[in-house]
Subunit: 548 residues, 2 copies
């Protein structure tokens, strides 16, 4: 029997997103979650970011199973990219696996993926470990924590969780089972730090039901509700409220339609078949009979709500004067300005816009606040604690909390920093493993190209083409700009002349040196633009040899 | 006598920033404030944005005076750009004018600007109007509201304000004077909407003093405090606390040094001359004797704090294990991710990082919350109300508040929407005037170039150069990439061959059409990259004629 467990975080410890954690016993290992991170303006044009899997592919212990805690993108979104690199069976709750299947439609693996559905309280073997999923409450149904019995000790991985005392689907946080497992001794608790800076409790979905009910009750026109599409609990609430208030529901946007279809098929959503109508049908109903559920809460370009706000004529559902638009979500940090633009556009169409700053009760978080985080630690009474899921400061805060309730061994690690745990619950540094971020823009895009994009965005690009004949410049330089200045008559010609003059001023002996001429042209172009516009573009000089 | 007043907002009604409002009586007018807006990721590379001044330059009523309420950038930052276009005397409190002078050092007007210092309760004439500045409290000293007596009626413009009952500089919000002016009748109140979504009161700077004092008292190592550099009240508090706790102050960053120098010269800041030492000197002191005040609270690239967090070796002041870094500010919406990166970097250096989510009392806003907004309306009892300073939803909220306290005429306008007020306080639409945003990147950059930058940032650029000889393609196409993919051996050559093949496959008759060949090459290059990488770059094809 192996006496040590290695904990190897590849993502999610140092950021919100791309959660991915390997657990190793000797040369055998499993992986918990495999998610993506959504890019910010440091990575323009990038669709998603996933953890670098080099360690898993080349490392000492190839994972024998991937276990998913639940179906959110930051926990499952990178599965297709992992499965392209290694063939590993994927265990997870039915909803999570159904959502992975949806994702895989966009990828060609060239083989059938191996899926194994998990059930709460039903234990299974994964590699050298015995794993038992435990029901937790969260902002999507079918979410689990994991009790992982390793050859040396017992680990509890919280997944993403909150403690909702009145869950919409009646599936309660399984505190009883956690207490049983804890009675037998938990060596290590790995717990969700997303809301480690937020005091108190996160609140129940049922509280949101009351607030939404009141808003729908008071609305004269159509009601639009924007939400995170994966929040099936919230969707259930809206179905129920629509039925009560005699409104038909229409689903606008591919994302909310997909999640509804998948959740219905998984039996996790209930509604009368005639409750939901197509947007074309809803648009013809009296405004008071419409409840539109819309994707696109963050002002994403091209999303359903952004297009509705822009009064896109190709959309059957429009916002008109007297309608109400409820943002039943939070603004993801960094999106404040696009969201404020969305508010403005909707208000200009005559809608009453209700969001969290105006009506705090329209949303509750799916992640435990401090009180619930403390409750989980006290339920588990672990010998060791490692905070997961969050930026460094959130992890620090959660570590402080664990210390304050008396956990003996608390360690803070970030992506790539391995940790070793022995059977007594003592933790030791396990060295640094290869880790990082892979940016996906169609295919993977490297760091040099990303840096170039940031420069291009800031200053634009100027291209000068220099004809070359035999051993000397052979004609007029041609200049082209993009993102430098709006078209101005003669500007490119003047830039070309400035480059030509700089070349003519070179000593004869240097003018036969092609590389010297190229660099002179490049610098002359930069100088010309700086003098004219006060800003230096990225400049590219290309020498074209005649008669090749 | 003119019986109507026209209110013409050119900036700040529909955004936080670039505040600029014209008031017109017949063919005569004045301008209140002239600020900039800081760009978001919709305008990469842009330094600042100012209102389009076309209406002021060409419009029916050239302003005869510019009156500044206080010295924040969003109220004075565009003065240099305005003064380049029209010569107008600038009235303002001494601190605001001193800060405009600092800004003008970077601009060559070719003439001396005309400045007139204003004082609270000291009335002056500006064009056809009589103006009286009124002392208000705000996050910078020397802030004023304006009572503007127009030929037809009395207007009160709040400037930026809060109601701080215990201001650091002892300069109280002049409620008494406002009540006197109101007793004579105020037709229109224009009031600051920045915090229209926030309930309660903003709180006093003195509350911040207590929190900062406690943190400094408990700190073992050096204390770094990051703040908005213009917050001279906060700087005064830190000077006083440093003296009490036996710490020397060092100012790190040009912005905080400039504001300290200007405020000292204006007599708005008091300290012992030996309290402040150079960073080089401070770095040599015992850690417990250091209080460093640092610019760069938002994770701005190149700012003092960003460089300190990056352990820049050229900076004498470093953060070491055991130090405390206090963010005595708020995160400006949109900056959450760079700020979180800053927190992480500082925490990795071993600092205790304290910010508003952890310790809410480290900052109070300089703008009135709802309770104070209501108090001002009740003080003024205006016949008409127009909310200013904020995005549309904030203005709506503030308008609702005014209606709820019984103001008869409340109108919501945004930039460019003129409004006409008669002596009875009734408001009528005054049509739309030319307005917009001018983006400054060195010089002004136009909308087409900005759109190109956004595309370049998302997809990078591919350039193909085609030699042309006589009446046909004359050599191998040359391909260059930027921001498309990291250097891969032979990738550019393969792209060039793909373009060459596409040209060879053209029917003979088309291959003599230079424009047809150029477009074929451009599309072939796009296709090649899309097939290879799954993403289509901006493609530029340039034909170079031989022997010109």
């Amino acid at each position: 029997m192996t006496s040590r467990l290695r904990i190897v975080p590849l993502g999610g410890l140092g950021e919100i997103g791309m959660n991915c954690l390997a657990l190793e016993a000797g040369s055998r290992s499993i992986l918990v979650d495999c998610g993506v991170l959504f890019p910010d303006d440091e990575a323009p044009g990038v669709d998603v970011i996933h953890p670098d899997f080099t360690y898993l592919v080349q490392g000492p212990a190839r994972p024998e199973a991937l276990i998913l805690t639940h179906g959110h993108e930051d926990h499952i979104g990178a599965v297709p990219y992992l499965l392209r690199q290694i063939d590993v069976p994927v265990y997870g709750p039915p909803l999570a696996l159904a959502l992975v299947r949806e994702r895989l439609k966009e990828h060609d693996l060239g083989r059938e993926p191996r899926f194994v559905e998990t059930r709460p309280r039903v234990r299974f073997d994964a590699g050298p470990f015995s794993v038992e999923p435990i029901r937790v409450t969260h902002s999507m149904p079918d979410s689990t924590a994991l009790c992982i019995d390793t050859p040396s000790c017992r680990v509890l991985h919280s997944g993403d969780f909150k403690i909702d005392r009145s869950p919409v689907d009646g599936q309660r946080f399984d505190e009883g089972r956690i207490r049983q497992l804890a009675a037998e001794g938990i060596a290590l608790l790995l717990s969700d730090s997303t809301n480690a800076e937020v005091a108190g409790e996160s609140g129940s979905e049922l509280d949101v039901r009351d607030v939404l009910g009141r808003l729908i009750d008071g609305a004269q026109g159509a009601v639009f509700v924007a939400l995170f599409s994966s929040n099936v609990h919230r969707l259930q609430i809206l179905f129920d409220l629509a039925a009560e208030h005699g409104r038909k529901v229409t689903l606008v946007g591919r994302s909310v339609q997909t999640h509804e279809r998948v959740a219905l098929a998984a039996g996790l959503l209930r509604r009368r078949s005639d409750l939901v109508v197509e947007p074309e049908v809803a648009a013809g109903l009296p405004r008071r009979s419409i409840l539109a559920v819309v994707s696109g809460t963050q002002g994403e370009p091209g999303s359903a709500l952004t297009r509705i706000a822009a009064a896109d004529p190709s959309r059957p559902m429009r916002v008109v004067h007297g309608d109400t638009v409820i943002f039943s979500n939070r603004v993801i940090p960094g999106n404040d300005r696009p969201v404020q633009r969305l508010f403005t556009a909707l208000a200009r169409l005559g809608a009453r816009v209700v969001h969290r700053s105006i009506e705090p009760g329209v949303h509750v978080s799916g992640h435990a606040h401090q009180t619930e985080q403390r409750a989980l630690i006290e339920m588990c009474r672990p010998r060791a604690f490692v905070p997961i899921h969050g930026p460094r400061l959130f992890l620090e805060r959660h570590a402080e909390l664990a210390r304050s309730v008396g956990v003996a061994n608390v360690r803070l690690i970030e992506d790539g920093e391995a940790l070793e745990l022995d059977a007594t619950g003592s933790l030791e540094t396990g060295g640094l493993v290869p880790h990082g971020r892979v940016h996906i823009d169609g295919s993977a895009i490297g760091p040099a190209a990303l840096r170039e994009r940031l420069v291009l965005a800031d200053v634009g690009v100027a291209v000068v083409v220099l004809p070359w004949r035999g051993r000397a410049p052979g004609g007029r330089p041609l200049v082209t700009f993009r993102g430098v200045t709006d078209p101005a008559p003669g500007f490119e010609e003047r830039a070309g002349r400035a480059v030509a003059e700089a070349i003519e001023e070179m000593p004869e002996v240097r003018r036969t040196d092609r590389e010297d001429v190229r660099e002179t042209a490049r610098l002359a172009l930069r100088r010309f633009v700086r003098n004219q516009l006060g800003r230096t573009p990225m400049a590219i000089a290309i020498v074209v040899e005649e008669g090749r």
